[in-house]
């Protein structure tokens, strides 16, 4: 059997170790997205003409995706509640709902991108489209990673193991959601 250090059971700060780690992870993620967004905003201020290119984005698809992500986050909160009650099966079911939300988000995104590329708006078309695909692409990668992680967590929760991980994965998912809340107006709406 694997060695389980006593260190993992200690909590000198009073905060569970997993939650502490996920917050530090989010600190580093904030700086990554901060770098992308700050670069984009500086360029956007320097290039007022990007507003005309932003008009070619699909506002409806972006809005629907925003709602999809927010709903999936709500399911993650409900899953956390169920996990607190010790109901692993219910938490797992709700988490599968969250994962499906991520899946719908990615499917809508791929139709959206496919349509835009078909109309000739590719990543090399201009500075705006380069940022559009790069920023949303990095975000989409985070969605995908989050779905995979939540799949493992849900599997464990279904079997009644490691229920506290529902909360940790949920915190990460909320963060991914919040990033989209910044990306959506900056890429789709700002003119």
């Amino acid at each position: 059997m694997a060695f389980r250090p006593i260190a993992t059971t200690r909590s000198a700060t009073g905060m569970p170790t997993g939650r502490l780690a996920i917050w530090w992870l989010i600190v580093s993620e904030i700086v990554i997205f901060g770098g992308v967004l700050a670069s984009y905003i500086m360029h956007r201020i320097g290039h007022p003409e990007w507003a005309y290119q932003a008009e070619h984005t699909n506002l409806v698809a972006g809005s629907v995706n925003t709602i999809v992500l927010l709903t999936s986050s709500l399911l993650a909160v409900l899953a956390h509640n169920a996990a607190e009650m010790g109901d692993g099966k219910k938490a797992a079911k709700l988490f599968v709902g969250t994962i499906l939300g991520g899946l719908v988000f990615l499917v809508i995104k791929s139709f959206e991108w496919g349509n835009e590329i078909a109309h000739g708006y590719t990543i090399t078309s201009s500075g705006f489209w380069a940022f559009y695909y790069t920023a949303a692409g990095i975000h989409g990668t985070h969605v995908l990673v989050g779905m995979i992680v939540m799949g493992f967590v849900a599997y464990d929760a279904w079997h009644g193991r490691e229920l506290q991980r529902i909360e940790f994965a949920g915190i990460y998912w909320h963060f991914v959601d919040v990033v989209w809340i910044f990306l959506f107006p900056l890429l789709y709406i700002a003119s």
Binding site: M1, A2, F3, R4, P5, I6, A7, T8, R10, S11, A12, T13, M15, T17, L20, A21, W24, L25, V27, S28, E29, I30, V31, I32, F33, G34, G35, V36, A38, S39, M42, H43, G46, H47, I123, T124, S126, G127, A130, F131, T134, I138
Partner: protein
């Protein structure tokens, strides 16, 4: 790495209840989760990379001293190879030597031992972090052998040179190098989260914030700095990779991009990075100096707060790398002020170390010599930095050998002297045996003296106008003079001597692992918790559950009044 005889006995004691299991060879050496073995993996990988990067320095320094010669063991250095050698030397020394050895190896080894924990809080994450790091090291080595050769656009990798294959002439090399750097960042993000969370949550009972040894604090602050600064460069690396491979124009001014943006993203990370590696090294000195001066560290809290102040300030100095890149002169003034400000906490820290020495019973053991030479050499690096931080002076000195000499006077003490200090100090705990003291002394003097002889001449060639990125100075009438060439030859000869002295260290290191004198549990009579574990390789878990230490006082109680021995360990009530 053999177990000395008595290690088996210790291991038997360390075996405890359901924690104990015999580790197979692969569990122990290939895929360990034990923080001590992961530390050794990092240390060994870093040392191997250091040999490669040192060899590169030898090759390109020979070309500068004797242009066009066939360098022994290398051959004639072509201009493209020259660029590649310089780039690989710089990036490997920073990312694959200083980072893995100072942060990852010492962080892994010291944090759990010094806070009285039996391992990191995420042992498997720790293993993953090393595996990612190893992958990045393999990637960067692969990059040397692809068509076109290794990336040659300097470790700062400024576009458009780095972004376009027709400029850099290394179509595959530059992307592989960039990918290797990105993977390495991921490895250290995972490692850093592990370090910080471990130090926050897994401290021994009774260990309060101000009982934590300075080196643990500084490795954690360094990890936080890394986490909070590397993000923009990860974003920038993705953008640069797209510029290289997909044909975007993030950094291409012809198509509306901005090459200065890269410089901001790079140096927003690049300058804190200096402090990311400095803090562990200066923290190692904070552990060594009280032990060999037999005196309490002077101003524990002041040292800690200056470390934090340095970390905070390091986020506001990055644009001093861009004084000649066309930034607004008013901005240059602001960054001059912040840059000069950051020397205050560091200077204060040096004063506190000297105050620790004052009135102590100083023993010039090998680790102490390294620690003292760290302060001496780093001071020269810090003082010459003031010239470069002042925007007016920098306009003349920018991109000359004065800069090269300056940052080697900071990075060499950090990466090389700091590492030697740490390795020689904790060697008895790492391998259960002493290193040879006499060989260590010879190696110390040979290394430090020749190091100064390498870089003092380069201050003068820099002041005379030597630009950094020149392949052959004889092509420039005003720089190819015998006076200046003599200084370049002096620096190169000193480098060769310094490299030869390292053979002594490698011999001493390997020989002492197997044949050194057996060391007791606490050979230096030190107070911190790592010296309470069985000296030779305690098993996975460090202590038995019954002997897990509790902490009763701060880490530096030397010459404690009213005690028979002159020190009072942290774990003794």
């Amino acid at each position: 790495m053999s177990h000395p005889e008595h290690a088996h006995a210790d291991h038997g004691h360390a075996a405890h209840g359901d924690h104990h299991h015999e580790m197979s060879f692969s569990e122990k050496y290939l895929f360990p989760t034990d923080h001590k073995y992961i530390a050794k993996q990092y240390m060994l990988t870093g040392m191997i990379m250091a040999v490669a990067a040192g060899f590169f320095a030898y090759a390109f320094r020979m070309q500068l001293a004797f242009p066009g010669m066939s360098v022994p063991f290398f051959g004639v250095v072509s201009p493209t190879e020259y660029n590649s050698l310089v780039t690989q030397h710089g990036s490997i020394m920073v990312f694959w030597v200083a980072m893995p050895v100072l942060i990852a190896a010492f962080g892994n080894f010291l944090i759990p031992l010094m806070i009285g924990a039996d391992d990191m809080v995420f042992p498997r994450l720790n293993r993953l972090s090393y595996q990612l790091f190893l992958l990045s090291a393999i990637l960067v080595v692969v990059g040397w052998f692809v068509p076109g050769g290794g990336f040659g656009g300097a470790w700062t990798s400024y576009p458009p040179l780095s972004a376009k294959a027709e400029y850099s002439l290394t179509p595959a090399g530059s992307s592989i190098w960039l990918a290797a750097v990105a993977v390495e960042f991921a490895a250290f993000l995972l490692g850093g989260i592990n370090f910080v969370v471990t130090a926050m949550n897994a401290r021994a009972p009774g260990m309060k914030w101000h009982d934590v040894p300075i080196v643990v604090w500084f490795i954690c602050i360094a990890s936080i700095l890394f986490m909070a600064s590397v993000g923009p460069l990860i974003a920038g690396a993705i953008m640069l990779l797209f510029d290289q491979q997909l044909g975007t124009h993030f950094f291409d001014p012809v198509a509306g991009g901005d090459p200065i943006l890269w410089q901001h993203l790079f140096w927003f990370f690049g300058h804190p990075e200096v402090y990311v590696v400095l803090l562990p090294a200066i923290g190692i000195c904070a552990e060594i100096i009280p032990v060999f001066a037999r005196k309490k560290l002077f101003g524990y809290r002041a040292i800690l707060y200056t470390g934090i102040a340095t970390g905070v300030l390091s986020f506001f100095v990055w644009a001093h790398h861009q004084f000649v890149a066309g930034i607004d002169p008013r901005m240059a003034n602001v960054f001059t002020i912040t840059t000069v400000l950051i020397s205050i906490p560091i200077a204060e820290m040096v004063f506190l170390y000297i105050a620790t020495l004052y009135g102590g019973s100083i023993k010039f053991s090998v680790p102490m010599l390294w620690a003292l030479s760290f302060i001496f050499c780093f001071l020269i690096g810090g003082v010459t930095g003031i010239f470069l931080g002042a925007s007016g002076a920098d306009i003349y000195l920018h991109d000359t050998y004065f800069v090269v000499a300056h940052f080697h006077y900071t990075f060499y003490p950090i990466a090389i002297i700091g590492t030697f200090a740490g390795v020689t100090h904790w060697f008895p705990k790492l391998f259960g045996r002493y290193m040879d003291e006499k060989l260590g002394q010879i190696h110390f003097w040979g290394t430090v003296l020749s190091f100064n002889l390498i870089f003092i001449p380069l201050f003068f060639t820099g002041l005379a106008g030597d630009h950094r990125r020149i392949y052959n100075y004889n092509n420039f009438a005003e720089l190819g003079t015998p006076d200046l060439q003599w200084l370049r030859i002096l620096a190169t000869v000193a480098l060769v001597i310094m490299l030869i002295f390292q053979v002594l260290f490698v011999y001493n290191f390997i020989n002492s692992i197997f044949k050194g004198k057996l060391a007791p549990t606490n050979p230096w009579k030190a107070t911190t918790l790592e010296w309470t574990t069985p000296s030779a390789q305690p098993g996975h878990g460090n202590w038995t559950p019954e002997t897990m230490p509790s902490v009763y006082r701060g880490p530096y109680e030397y010459s404690a009044p009213g005690r028979d021995d002159d020190f009072h360990p942290q774990n003794v009530p």
